[in-house]
């Protein structure tokens, strides 16, 4: 793994996304800071409604129009500010530099076009050429994602393929233009464990070959523990903890992270009671004072309810950050 420390592949600073509704507005992405280096995998974890997918869509500027917009902050791809690009320039970035793999291969493929046509669509936009070469390149892309008999599959319609195969096709579209970053939003939730393992292995191999950065949006701690280098834990639109996988699993600094890790049964090891988190996450527009996790936190004291904790350095080297007052007491 080669990493150029000076300019990260992706640098997100103080990103805030606002959703305005008639009833008021709120921030599903509230002050995000993170970086992704070449060949690195970042996991964004959190429960439903924590703002994971909003974070992903804001990176490629595909937020739902009119409803949500980036309020402030910066997203830099190799030093270039994405928020300043025109829509036409941004369209060139999408697919060729940052590609996305969505959760459901069933709905992200168009049922009325063949697999080959859908893969060549990406080429047509970013690197046009004659029809014949497009087909050859589509076959090539299918071969890269290890679809068996690609010459035959290229003319298949999505309904003729199995779920795992379809997800590979979605993967083929994503990697077709050799992007620098792939954002995968829950890419394997609908797949069997065996197919999931094959698919994740494939992504890893592609990463080793091309040095692309991967952002995994997931609630599956298995994926995080096995594939990611860094994690960002989200709660209520905020990053509550970030750092390397090893450190966060061994020594979670935020009670929310700790509870999430304890809530997942392990394949091996103890069969003791699983940790639970009482209550529900707050509703988006609920007025809040203090730490948004405090009402559900086992370790909260009066300060937690009164004042929002800043992002604090948990290990003293700037590599492991957490937004929790308890960090100060350690």
């Amino acid at each position: 793994m080669t990493q150029t420390q000076d300019t990260p592949l992706l640098e997100v600073k103080d990103l805030r996304v606002e959703i305005s509704t008639k009833a008021g507005s709120f921030y599903p992405v509230n002050g995000h800071n993170f970086t992704l280096n070449k060949g690195e995998t970042l996991g964004i974890v959190g429960e439903s409604g924590s703002g994971k997918s909003m974070t992903a869509t804001s990176l490629v500027r595909l937020l739902p129009k009119h409803a949500a917009k980036v309020k402030s902050g910066s997203i830099k791809l190799e030093g270039r500010e994405l928020l300043d690009l025109s829509e036409a320039e941004m369209r060139k970035v999408r697919g060729s530099e940052i590609a996305m793999i969505l959760q459901d291969p069933q709905t992200s493929l168009n049922p009325s076009f063949t697999v080959g046509e859908q893969i060549s669509e990406a080429f047509r936009l970013h690197a046009p050429g004659p029809k014949k070469t497009m087909r050859a390149r589509a076959i090539d892309a299918l071969r890269k994602v290890k679809v068996a008999a690609p010459e035959h599959r290229v003319d298949c319609y999505p309904n003729e393929l199995s779920g795992g195969m379809r997800q590979r096709v979605v993967g083929a579209i994503a990697i077709s233009c050799e992007p620098k970053i792939i954002i995968a939003d829950e890419p394997t939730t609908s797949l069997d464990v065996t197919v999931q393992a094959q698919y994740l292995r494939l992504l890893k191999e592609l990463q080793d070959d091309t040095g692309m950065g991967i952002i995994f949006i997931t609630h599956d701690f298995g994926i995080v523990a096995n594939l990611c280098h860094k994690i960002v834990v989200m709660y209520f639109g905020r990053i509550v903890e970030s750092g390397s996988v090893e450190r966060i699993f061994a020594n979670p600094a935020h009670p929310y992270t700790e509870a999430l890790i304890g809530a997942v049964p392990k394949l091996r090891g103890h069969k003791g009671r699983l940790t639970t988190i009482k209550g529900q996450p707050p509703a988006p527009m609920e007025p809040l004072q203090g730490c948004p996790f405090a009402p559900r936190c086992e370790k909260a004291d009066s300060r937690c309810f009164a004042e929002l904790p800043p992002t604090l350095d948990a290990d003293g080297d700037g590599e492991h950050l957490a937004s929790c007052w308890r960090v100060l007491d350690q």
């Binding site: 094959q198 096995n226 999430l260 091996r268």
Partner: protein, 325 residues
């Protein structure tokens, strides 16, 4: 620990006829479940694991008597459930209940949850309205909902609470066996652990037996006492959970377990790559159904003969030619 089984399944098979080809002239047979043998005792959890299409759901539907088997029997307290009718069948239905995957579609949105929870009781048992109220309250208490909630409608609840409602409805008839079909896969991590803990508590309190169908192997290992591994409608291995997970005997079990990701970065795993995908049940491979994907295939015998279950010890069976001698 030898207990009398509540449910015994003997040579159970379910085959579906499917019309294929142009003008649907050709009839093919899908063997959704073939020659299954297992039992479940009181207070025990048996998990069915396998990839999609391996027949787990068909098996649970046969046990719930939602489908009639092509061959074989399901014995409840020694009696074949397909001979049950009238009151006998009602008793069976109230003693064997189910919780399904999706709490959004398994609950009728127009019915107050108190009525929803009471339904299995009213349908299957002769009880007066005071008794119904008492039992609904007891069920709500057991699953950790408030008694006032009985007056509310399903849309007023979150996913985790809805799953609790579904569980309350399943346990109100004081069943002996509850079939859990992917009971936590639609829930968030933090809610999932609450429901898993609830299953354990209810089991301890009422000596419930569970048949669990889950594709998450970590949850399976956590909840199940015994596992049965299925592949293309057949049971390839069966045994105590820890034995099977620690030392899988069948090459399929081995490959399946190696694909599971553990939520612990210090745990190293060596994945046994399985080539290809599950073959179509319309054209199952000859011999051992797993042989085209098997990393331990020993040659012609696997391709031509289907293996017979081998009893390794009283609790462990495996169907593989590796154990033929």
């Amino acid at each position: 620990m030898i207990k009398t089984p509540i449910l015994e399944v003997e040579n159970l098979s379910k085959h579906f006829e499917v019309q294929t080809g142009i003008f649907k002239r050709e009839t093919k047979i899908v063997k959704a479940a073939t020659d299954l043998n297992f039992h479940i005792s009181e207070g025990e959890t048996l998990a069915l694991v396998g990839e999609s299409g391996c027949g787990k759901t068909t098996t649970t539907r046969l046990l719930l008597k939602l489908q009639t088997p092509t061959a074989g029997r399901v014995l409840y307290d020694g009696q074949d459930i397909n001979t049950l009718n009238g009151q006998g069948l009602k008793t069976y239905r109230s003693k064997v209940q189910a919780v399904f995957q999706d709490p959004w579609s398994s609950i009728n949105p127009r019915v107050r949850i108190g009525d929803f929870i009471a339904e299995p009781l009213i349908v299957n048992e002769k009880v007066d309205s005071n008794e119904v109220d008492r039992r609904v309250n007891a069920a709500l208490d057991a699953v950790g909902l408030r008694r006032q909630d009985a007056r509310k409608f399903p849309h007023e609840f979150s996913g985790g609470q809805r799953q609790r409602i579904a569980i309350a409805s399943a346990i109100i008839t004081r069943p002996r066996l509850v079939i859990l079909d992917e009971p936590v896969s639609g829930l968030d991590v933090s809610i999932r652990s609450q429901i898993i803990n609830l299953f354990k508590d209810l089991q301890a309190e009422y000596a419930l037996s569970y048949i669990l169908v889950a594709h998450d192997l970590a949850t399976t290992r956590y909840l199940a006492d015994r596992v049965a591994v299925m592949y293309l409608g057949q049971m390839v291995e069966q045994g105590n959970t820890d034995d099977v997970f620690d030392a899988p005997a069948h090459p399929y079990t081995e490959a399946l377990l190696s694909a599971a990701l553990s939520a612990d970065p210090t745990e190293k795993r060596t994945e046994i790559p399985m080539t290809g995908e599950v073959p179509s049940p319309l054209n199952p491979p000859s011999g051992c159904a797993f042989h085209p994907r098997c990393h331990k295939c020993i040659g012609d015998i696997c391709k031509t003969q289907s293996p017979v279950p081998f009893l390794q010890d009283p609790n462990r069976t495996v169907s593989c030619h590796l154990y033929d001698q």
